[in-house]
Amino acid sequence: MKRSFIISCVLVLMCYLLAACGANSNSGANTGADAAGNGESNAQKEVTIKLFQQKVEIAEQLKVVKAEYEKTHPGVKIEIESVLSSQYGTKLKAKLAANEMPDIFNNGGYSDMDVWADHLEDLTDQPWVSDAVDSAKAPMMKDGKLYGFPLSLEGSGLVYNKEMFAKAGITELPKTLSELEEASTKLKAQGFTPFVNDYASVWDLGITIFDSFMAKVPDTDKFIADLNSGAATFAGNDVFKGLPKYLDIAMKYGNANPLTTDYNTSMTMFATGQGAMIPAGNWIQPLIDKINPNIQAGLMPMPVSDDADFNKNAVFTSPTIWVVNKNSPVKEQAKEFLNWLVTSDIGKQNVAKEFKLVPAFKSIKADPADVGSIGDDLTKFSEEGNSLPMQASKMPEGLYTEIAQSMQKYVAGKSTPDQMLAEFQASWNKLKK
């Protein structure tokens, strides 16, 4: 009893102390807000641009940009909030519900653009529009108008370890499924594990791999429309016949327990040389660099069939897109900030040097040393015109998770190729609008 009394006393005391602290900080915040509301509004207009974004990889770098911008633009404050993409959607909806929408935020394009259409500012008249790469603008175009600002280009396919390929004597990158298998045998002969399969990650199955196939379907838009109307099926499509074949090869020459290997583990495995190829994109560069700064990685299109010509385009680009909130009171300042970022020298330099992303603007040239070897390969594909636009966000929302689950089922040996494609179909029919 005695001890409990003492503990209670201490706790009560702590409460009082903290109540005092709490009250102080509250009143402090209030006076601050008042001052901004009344006193200073005449002297100089202080505005705050709220930027809410899901690329945590550039969170630190954005702070540098923010400092730079605030220095040259007195009266403008930028408030940056970076969250994981897995939490991004829920948080953005909570912000919307609470009437706390940010001024600049991320959007996935296509169907995601339609969802958020009520909130998007038309950016067609912005000075940077003509400088932006067309394929990066495509996801945000509607009725001839542009609703998004492409911050960077991202490409995916198979990321491979250049050293291992060289040691295995692979001089020519595999362009067909048969060549992929051949390369795998060579790698295996050298004692390497050819594939790192992180099939615990629904993202890599449902987007990285699935989209490589989807993007290759000739006239994808028509195929998607036909899937919606019922005129086409996955089982009836030639490109998708290659999907189970690809998975078979990757499984045969892959790591043990692919279904327990998640994204993080797979990054570690690839970076530490426990595998030569991984379905991924240039976004993994900072991660694998952190684990092994000496890694030499490259990017190649993911082969989807045995027709070499058909496979040369497989790298597709998916931009990181920022949009401006149409209903924001500071949308003009927000647009000015975006414009500064890609037209001013300081801004450009930051985009090219700090972000380590492949810029989506023709006038911004990224140094291979900055964007890394994967990004450098991507730039080459893009410049040669060998790139295809991403398709993931044209598909029904949430589809990729279900697609990935069907693929997991297939690689676990719980379904046949036909069953897998039939499950794709069922998911599509269920989720289509």
Binding site: G89, K93, D118, T260, P396, T401, A412
Partner: protein
């Protein structure tokens, strides 16, 4: 409201006390009853309404719309969402089936192990208070952190032990197959839950009169018989509480599921709470998601009611 006023007046304690206060009029007395009601329960109801009740009714409204969670207008669709769930959404049924199986196993194991630990630690062991603390310790972790930690243990730690000991248990593809993912969730849930229930059972056991046990020992009853015929019937009220707590926990499991398996592999460990979350926020079908939540709410209420009724009927007065 009049009914209520009448019933308050008829309450025996109040009647007695009203006789004591002769000076006050009946009317003043009633108003003071209302004052008491408002004073004591008012604040609780206020917070309950703001945070639970009103949003819950909003939810019922949204469950009859096709709202996507973003657009300004929610289109009224009546009971369409409910028919979609029952007719066209086998995954929801599967997640319900998974949750039921999971709850059943987890609740039984949690309670059996919790009870066994409590029984063990009711014995006069020297180190028992320290050991009790250790068993309860996992409860200081939140569900999300719990999942992260176990993900690390299963993905990194187990293979590490496996290398050292060559025990096949540690070399299983943890989280990679339906069965291992299922049992991983069970292990973690028991690791955390058993200690909590243990504490409740310890108190229950402490209330079993010692002379009753001593008497039966003299009568020549074996340990097992004492447990079965005396201890367990006497701690049925504790069992009721433990079952109620563990059922509502495991049925609503979200954080652990989200951070440990995310429903994988191939959706085989997707709990209902996660299915609802994914529907509302992943598929942007908030209306459909809340409709599912409503069905779920009714189901959980129903199940806990049955459980409480069933175990209550077995309780024995001491």
């Amino acid at each position: 409201m009049d009914n209520n006023r009448a019933s308050i007046n008829m309450h025996p304690v109040l009647e007695r006390s009203s006789k004591l206060e002769r000076g006050s009029t009946v009317k003043r007395w009633i108003s003071s009853q209302w004052m008491q009601q408002a004073f004591f329960i008012g604040p609780a109801i206020l917070f309950y309404s703001i945070v639970i009740a009103i949003p819950f009714f909003f939810g019922i409204y949204y469950s009859m719309t096709s709202w996507d969670g973003v657009s300004g207008n929610a289109v009224w669709v009546g009971l369409n969402n409910f028919s979609t769930i029952f007719l066209k959404d086998p995954e929801f049924g599967q997640s319900f089936w998974f949750t039921t199986r999971f709850t059943l196993t987890a609740v039984i194991l949690n309670n059996v192990i919790g009870f066994a630990l409590a029984y063990l630690l009711s014995l006069p062991l020297k180190s028992r208070s320290a050991i009790r603390t250790i068993f309860f310790l996992p409860n200081v972790l939140g569900g999300l952190v719990l999942g992260f930690i176990w993900q690390f243990i299963l993905v990194q730690g187990f293979p590490g032990i496996g290398k050292l000991t060559n025990l096949s248990f540690f070399n299983l593809p943890w989280l990679g197959t339906e069965a291992t993912a299922y049992w991983a969730l069970i292990i973690v849930s028991v690791w955390q839950g058993a200690g909590y229930l243990m504490v409740i059972y310890i108190a229950g056991l402490a209330n079993v009169p010692k002379d009753l046990i001593e008497a039966s020992v003299i009568d020549g009853a074996g340990k097992w018989q004492i447990l079965k015929n005396i201890i367990i019937p006497l701690i049925m009220p504790t069992v009721t509480v433990c079952l109620f707590i563990s059922i509502s926990w495991t049925f609503k499991m979200f954080d652990l599921n989200y951070s440990l398996t995310s429903g994988g592999p191939y959706g085989s460990t997707e709990s209902v709470a996660m299915n609802i979350y994914n529907e509302a926020f992943g598929n942007n079908r908030y209306g459909l998601g809340t409709a599912k939540a409503l069905i779920f709410f009714v189901a959980v209420t129903f199940i806990t009611l049955i459980q409480v009724k069933l175990t209550k009927s077995r309780e024995v007065e001491m």
